[in-house]
């Protein structure tokens, strides 16, 4: 049930956000920049996720919640 609500919620959010989008293709220059990438430096991201996974109980959200190590 929770998963169904979540799936519909995400689709709803997609439609809602789509409705307020006003950005044209020729205006994608800023979001295409290196500095605007969601994973700007993959090694910084993986180092943070590895450290936090080994020292904290939480996982996931930003990416998959597996750990791939015996550190937790």
């Amino acid at each position: 049930m929770k998963k169904t609500i979540m799936t519909f919620g995400l689709f709803g959010l997609t439609i809602l956000l789509g409705g307020c989008a006003t950005v044209q293709p020729w205006e994608r220059d800023v979001t295409a920049r290196q500095s605007m990438q969601l994973n700007k430096n993959a090694n910084f991201t993986s180092a943070h996720e590895h450290i936090y996974f080994s020292k904290e109980a939480s996982a996931g959200g930003r990416s998959f919640d597996g750990g791939g190590c015996g550190c937790n």
Partner: protein
């Protein structure tokens, strides 16, 4: 999913903060939209000076990225050196092949789970067999190990001592880990991308294998991207002394066979281009973990219910099923060449742990070729339902119990500074430094008796540094 009153307050405060920021950026953004509408194809001069304003995607290129991470905890605890190298090839038709090799080398001391006491305590080392080729054989003191030979059976056991009033630490922690990740992303049709990946890692006492697949679909003139992904992980735990029976007494005896753990992860997300300068991302991730999740090296003190004195030490016990839920929201806003990155996460699992995470950083251009990015991260988690610092000897054993500090309630603050410098069009040097500090959240528990001077909380503080070079050709 239940939130305690205190957690509701924390979540509320975090959401207010994020909302306030988003209102702020929306307001600022109205001006940007007006500017870009008046002159849609032009970038103002302030936005195009720094090299990190160049497009990220470069079809037909290959990148080699190598870095080293240094990690060090206070008080002689864990130290790690982690070199990594990756190879990424972007084809002309937007497919991406990637491979990454990581090597971890860890040494140092780690809390064994036992409570401190007013006199010294002796423990059996679980991480090193006291056989003839052990490099620490016969050593004592700094290395923390003394070999004890049973006069009847001849069995050799390595023991170490925790000093009076000190948190018991097993100083014999040594491990190496090698991990390989392979990834492939390709466009299926216009606006649809498929990503596949494999990951494997090997430690002397742990192996992990996983496979993943995800699909991303663009909508609304490519301003909305919906993504769905699945990851399946199979882990094998093969401790040096075998896997102990839950709540069995600490010993150097050979124990049970290897144990397995499986993790099924699903993630669904939306990335939305809100305006020319503003990106939003929302994710939900679900994890189902089944199998062996006990830490085979962690123990618990069984203590006198009146004095708090340790009577024996038992191996911990954790449930074999855990379900995780995480909700993530992220925002990236560009103002000129500056980029503000905000994110928040709420996490809940079936072990009773709730957590919130808030992250903020600012990408600051320096001249034409460089950036720095100061950042701060706040984290709070509640304790697992079965977390305890000790077991009183006059109470029946619970079904599950662990004194692992990672399952305790605590706050953590990270202060970070990262940056990059483009030597030329092909070579980037980058570095980061993080200071991480954990502190106990909520009421501090004490042992029975008059033992307020014995600190039970085993959280850590750490410093990590990374330096790397990325070469594109």
């Amino acid at each position: 999913m239940q939130l305690s009153k205190k957690n509701k307050g924390r979540v509320g405060a975090t959401l207010c903060l994020i909302t306030a920021n988003l209102f702020t950026v929306t307001g600022l953004h109205a001006q940007d939209i007006t500017d870009s509408t008046n002159n849609p194809s032009a970038q103002d001069s302030a936005e195009s000076l720094n090299v990190y304003d160049q497009p990220a995607s470069t079809p037909g290129t290959t990148t080699i990225d190598s870095a080293v991470l240094f990690y060090k905890e206070d008080g002689g605890r864990i130290q790690a050196i982690e070199p990594m190298v990756s190879l990424t090839h972007n084809t002309e038709n937007d497919s991406v092949f990637s491979a990454k090799l990581t090597f971890d080398s860890l040494t140092g001391a780690t809390p064994n789970g036992a409570a401190p006491w007013k006199s010294s305590q002796i423990f059996t080392s679980p991480t090193r067999q006291a056989n003839g080729d052990d490099e620490n054989e016969g050593s004592t003191g700094a290395s923390g190990g003394t070999i004890v030979i049973d006069p009847i059976t001849g069995q050799r056991t390595l023991e170490y001592t925790a000093d009076a009033f000190m948190l018991p630490l097993d100083s014999g922690f040594v491990d190496q880990r090698t991990a390989l990740d392979l990834g492939f992303t390709t466009p299926l049709t216009s606006g649809t991308k498929l990503s596949l990946g494999l990951n494997g890692s090997h430690e002397r006492d742990y192996n992990s294998f996983s496979g993943r697949a995800s699909i991303a679909q663009d909508f609304n003139n490519k301003t909305t991207t919906l993504s769905l992904g699945v990851n399946y992980e199979h882990d094998v735990s093969k401790p040096f002394f075998g896997t102990p029976t839950p709540f069995s007494v600490m010993s150097g005896d050979q124990k049970g066979p290897s144990q397995n753990k499986n993790v099924l992860s699903l993630i669904a997300g939306v990335t939305q281009v809100m305006t020319r300068n503003w990106l939003l991302q929302f994710n939900y991730s679900y994890g189902s973990v089944t199998g062996y999740q006990t830490d085979p090296y962690k123990i618990l003190s069984v203590v006198d219910p009146t004095t708090g004195a340790p009577q024996t030490y038992l191996y911990e016990s954790r449930p074999e099923k855990r379900t995780r839920h995480a909700f993530y929201a992220g925002s990236k806003l560009a103002l000129g060449s500056y980029v503000t990155d905000l994110s928040a996460r709420y996490y809940h699992d079936s072990w009773g742990i709730n957590s919130i995470t808030a992250n903020m950083s600012e990408h600051i251009p320096i001249g034409d070729l460089m950036y720095i990015e100061p950042g701060v991260r706040y984290y709070h988690q509640s304790a697992a339902d079965f977390f305890t610092y000790y077991l009183p000897s006059n109470v029946a054993l619970p079904l599950y119990a662990s004194a692992d500090s990672r399952l305790d309630s605590f706050n953590a603050i990270t202060l970070s500074l990262s940056g990059g410098y483009m030597i030329n069009d092909q070579i980037e040097l980058y570095a980061m430094v993080d200071a991480y500090r954990q502190s106990k959240a909520g009421q501090k528990d004490t042992l029975p008796g008059n033992n307020q001077d014995l600190k039970l909380y085993a959280g850590t503080n750490a410093l990590s540094m990374m330096t790397g070079v990325k070469v594109k050709f």
